[in-house]
Symmetry: C2
């Protein structure tokens, strides 16, 4: 986001049909809450299209890609890797350290669907629990991004949008942009 080191989100695992909406929501949440890029499994082309379509209409910069080798994305990552899991360290205990790391280099956030292989736990610099309770990878990602950026993501400008929503106390207001 802006001039900061990149934040990318890697979605691990996707069962077509069953996971379509969750994977799409991971991608849209990554975009809306300040990540620069999301990498989806190569069988998630439908989710990729939805996220790309939203980016085209509501703006970017934001990139959505498919990858056939998520493990290489993790092992080749030129920065720190954060794996979100209910078994990990408490976010409130490690967030400040991760924010410091992000001032220096790119962060990859790994978000699992089904059971995550053990080597991902080992490859991650931090396994982080947004609570140690079972809930939702979308919820975990959202809270993590909001805390990583400390709310700056809510103020970001969108470029290349053909429309924008004007905040409104009641009702809906959408305006075309000049772009």
């Amino acid at each position: 986001m802006n001039e900061e080191p990149e934040v990318a989100v890697l979605r691990l695992g996707h069962r077509p049909g069953r996971d379509e909406r969750m994977t799409t929501h991971v991608g849209l949440t990554a975009r809306a809450l300040g990540a620069d890029r999301v990498l989806l499994p190569d069988n998630a082309s439908q989710s990729r299209e939805t996220v790309a379509d939203i980016t085209e209409r509501f703006g970017g910069p934001f990139t959505v890609e498919l990858t056939g080798s998520p493990r290489s994305v993790v092992s080749d990552w030129p920065g720190s890797v954060v794996h979100l899991t209910m078994y990990g360290e408490r976010i409130q205990d490690v967030e400040e350290t991760i924010r410091s790391a992000h001032r220096e280099h790119p962060i990859l956030i790994v978000v699992g669907a089904e059971k995550v292989p053990f080597d991902i736990y080992e490859a991650a610099d931090w396994n982080v629990g947004v609570t140690n309770q079972p809930h939702s990878e979308v919820a975990g990602l959202a809270v993590f991004l909001d805390r990583l950026f400390e709310g700056r993501e809510l103020e970001r400008e969108w470029v290349g949008a053909d429309r924008r929503v004007i905040p409104k106390a009641t009702g809906k207001r959408v305006e075309p942009t000049d772009q």
Copy 2:
């Protein structure tokens, strides 16, 4: 949560099959992030069971209910009603006011599935956008709760659990409780 006025989440709309996981994730996110209760549409009995099952295993207090009259839940609510929508006022502009309201009385958070009827926008004390971008009702709920409670939800104690997860830098550790 604890001795504070109640926070309940109302899920509006549910298409069985298609919305099953999203509705379940709304329920689990409400529980994990400090709400006291979730109300689901009466055709979401499968989601209700999943949330009740997780509460039994991982603890509470947390209540999951079905309702056939979501509009009465809204109109009869003895406190403030917050409707989460991408068209609403920016969370960063209204959150402090809502936190003050919550010190005085119970808060109902309304989370839509499909298109939300206009009377809900009118009935709400606040229509709130967690960004004015399209993303995920689960993500919006998660960020809203984390900001409403200012992180206190991450420290809550769970009662009546038969197991608990011990935070761990690498791997998984789950222990039976004494209860």
